[in-house]
């Protein structure tokens, strides 16, 4: 009884330590606050947005920012602020789900390769080398072209294109742990390979994975927005920041506010994720901090 309780306390205290260290880092906390706000915006978009994201008002096209339209209106008279608010849903969804896809697939490949080693590892990692040889954005473009442009396909494309990075990371972490004594002990006690990987190895290499995943969400949002920007991602009239930028681009000479605000939204999101990622790196592994 007592030992179980102690174990729980210890587990808690590790994360408490991380939180304590993270809390001291003002930039990281700032990033975290922005991300929480973004989530709230995405969840309560229906209440926050003053207008619908698709209601057109042809009498009020190209309005510059005013009290009625905080960020102005676009070429169809749609309220840009409302579209950005709804756009946060899409960006967060795409970012997190894409990273989830690459984490699950890439992580499994990396864990299997790192744990078993030998031929299997060789085969899996050579496959990853092949994927790595194609720049992420080109691979994502090719996948989206094959599957057709839609939100789900965009997530799949962005997710698949960053699989090799996670596979390599998890493999390296697993390899550094698999020879340790407690793994041998678990094996001697008769744990199955699956149990050893999931229960003993992965929890011990979470730190780099969490950091990579946080920054990975930022990269996924950027890639997805980039694809939408060149017209291969999310199609109008869905309010997506990248496609809003691409729409505003034609009017940049006369109505720069159309490109300004979606870009700011995107940059703040990415910056917040990067700040949090950097902070987590320092908090999870104090040795790395210089």
């Amino acid at each position: 009884m007592n030992t179980v309780k102690q174990k729980k306390n210890k587990k808690k205290s590790i994360w408490l330590d991380v939180w304590r260290r993270l809390r001291k880092n003002k930039m990281a906390v700032g990033g975290l606050v922005i991300i929480i706000l973004l989530f709230l915006t995405a969840i309560f978009a229906d209440w926050i947005a003053p207008y619908s994201y698709e209601s057109q008002d042809l009498l009020n096209m190209f309005q510059t920012p005013s009290f009625e339209h905080w960020f102005g209106t676009d070429e169809f008279g749609r309220d840009i602020f409302s579209r950005i608010v709804y756009g946060s849903r899409i960006s967060l969804e795409v970012g997190f789900i894409a990273v989830g896809i690459s984490l699950i697939i890439g992580g499994s490949i990396g864990a299997i390769a790192g744990y078993y080693g030998g031929r299997l590892e060789n085969l899996l990692m050579r496959c990853m080398d092949v994927l790595l040889a194609i720049p992420e954005i080109l691979l994502a473009i090719a996948i989206v072209a094959a599957l057709g442009p839609s939100i789900a396909n965009l997530m799949i494309a962005v997710g698949i294109s960053s699989i090799p990075g996670y596979a390599r990371l998890v493999r390296a972490s697993v390899m550094s742990i698999r020879e340790q004594e407690f793994i041998e002990a678990a094996r001697a006690a008769g744990s199955s390979d699956f149990r050893i990987i999931v229960k003993h190895i992965l929890p011990n290499c979470m730190a780099p994975i969490i950091v990579q995943a946080t920054i990975g969400v930022a990269i996924a949002i950027l890639t997805a927005a980039g694809l939408s920007f060149i017209g291969l991602g999310i199609q109008p009239p869905t309010p997506e920041w990248g496609s809003m930028l691409s729409g505003g681009r034609s009017y940049i000479r006369d109505y720069p506010h159309m490109t300004l605000f979606p870009g700011i939204a995107m940059m703040v999101t990415i910056l917040a994720l990067n700040l949090l990622g950097d902070g987590l790196r320092d908090a999870l592994d104090p040795k790395l901090k210089n």
Binding site: A133, I141, L232, R249, D278
Partner: protein, 309 residues
């Protein structure tokens, strides 16, 4: 050394074949009938069917890929564009110089700005300069390249009228695209230089050099930088490879006819051979750049050089 180089080149072949397979498969499942694309909407059903037969489009997937791979390896031939009917290699070679110029100037910019600033930041750790630099570096990493490009056009072409908003032939026209594409690399190389220098500066041999009264400049540039260069070279090489294939967005914003734009146009027009050839070409150049980076290590670090022998 030569043996190592030859082995690495040979190891590229399966990777390239793998890339060819992936792209071939992706385009295989992409909707759109190549025969119909070549002949246009006006063509009769019979002529489309006939062309399908001639092109071997009715063969099973693996037979088609086998033929493609055979042509690729034995004849170094990747077919002709459906749209322009020119060989794919020719298409790529017409647009590659623009991409190379763009990526080259971006990485040059990144090295010229990133390394000195990174060094100063490391020497003056936690100073105002360091803090401001790190903040800018973080903003640089977070800036979507296509948004930065638009902002640069807005400021320097539309408002101030100093620089052209498109083109790539003159030096003036290259400035904005190179800055837009290079911004992220500048930030990454600055951060890398700083952390790598910080790590090295604490080593015993630096303390040794200082304590024997070595000139501080010499300590920084010879003893420290020389040893801090390896991660910087790695990251610069990776960045250059990424820029070669990832300039899609920059090329689209500044209307530069480079390889990225060719790929996007070809995908939109379902010009499959060009897409295939383009991805292959980018993958090959990416792998070659990585190989060159590995070779460069040997020149920077005698410890690595001795391993090759």
């Amino acid at each position: 050394m030569l043996k190592y180089f030859a082995r690495r080149i040979l190891m590229l072949i399966p990777v390239i074949l793998g890339v060819a397979f992936i792209v071939f498969f992706l385009l295989y499942i992409t909707p759109g009938d190549p025969a119909r694309i070549i002949l246009g909407d006006q063509a009769t059903e019979e002529s489309v069917l006939q062309l399908r037969e001639e092109m071997g489009l009715n063969d099973p997937f693996f037979v088609r890929f086998g033929k493609y791979a055979y042509n690729l390896v034995v004849n170094q031939d990747v077919g002709k564009s459906y749209v322009t009917k020119r060989p794919v290699w020719d298409e790529i070679m017409t647009v590659f110089p623009a991409t190379l110029k763009l990526a080259g100037s971006s990485i040059l910019l990144a090295l010229l700005i990133g390394i000195p600033i990174g060094i100063i930041s490391a020497i003056k750790q936690y100073s105002i300069f360091d803090n401001v630099t790190m903040l800018f570096a973080l903003i640089g990493i977070s800036m979507p390249v296509f948004w930065l490009g638009l902002l640069l056009i807005l400021l320097f072409s539309v408002k101030l009228g100093w620089l052209p908003s498109s083109g790539y032939t003159t030096l003036n026209a290259m400035i904005l695209p190179a800055v837009a594409l290079g911004a992220q690399s500048i930030a990454i190389i600055t951060r890398m230089t700083r952390s790598s220098m910080l790590e090295v500066i604490r080593m015993d041999y630096i303390r040794m050099a200082r304590s024997k009264g070595q000139d501080e400049n010499k300590v920084v540039f010879k003893h420290a930088l020389g040893n801090a260069l390896i991660p910087i070279i790695t990251i610069a090489g990776l960045q250059f490879g990424r820029l070669l294939g990832g300039a899609v967005l920059t090329e689209s914003i500044f209307s530069i006819p480079g390889i990225g734009r060719l790929m996007v146009e070809s995908i939109k027009m379902r010009d499959f051979p060009v897409v295939q050839g383009g991805v292959l070409f980018v993958a090959i150049s990416f792998s070659l750049v990585n190989l060159l980076v590995d070779l460069l290590y040997a020149y920077v670090d005698p410890r690595i050089k001795s391993q090759y022998k």
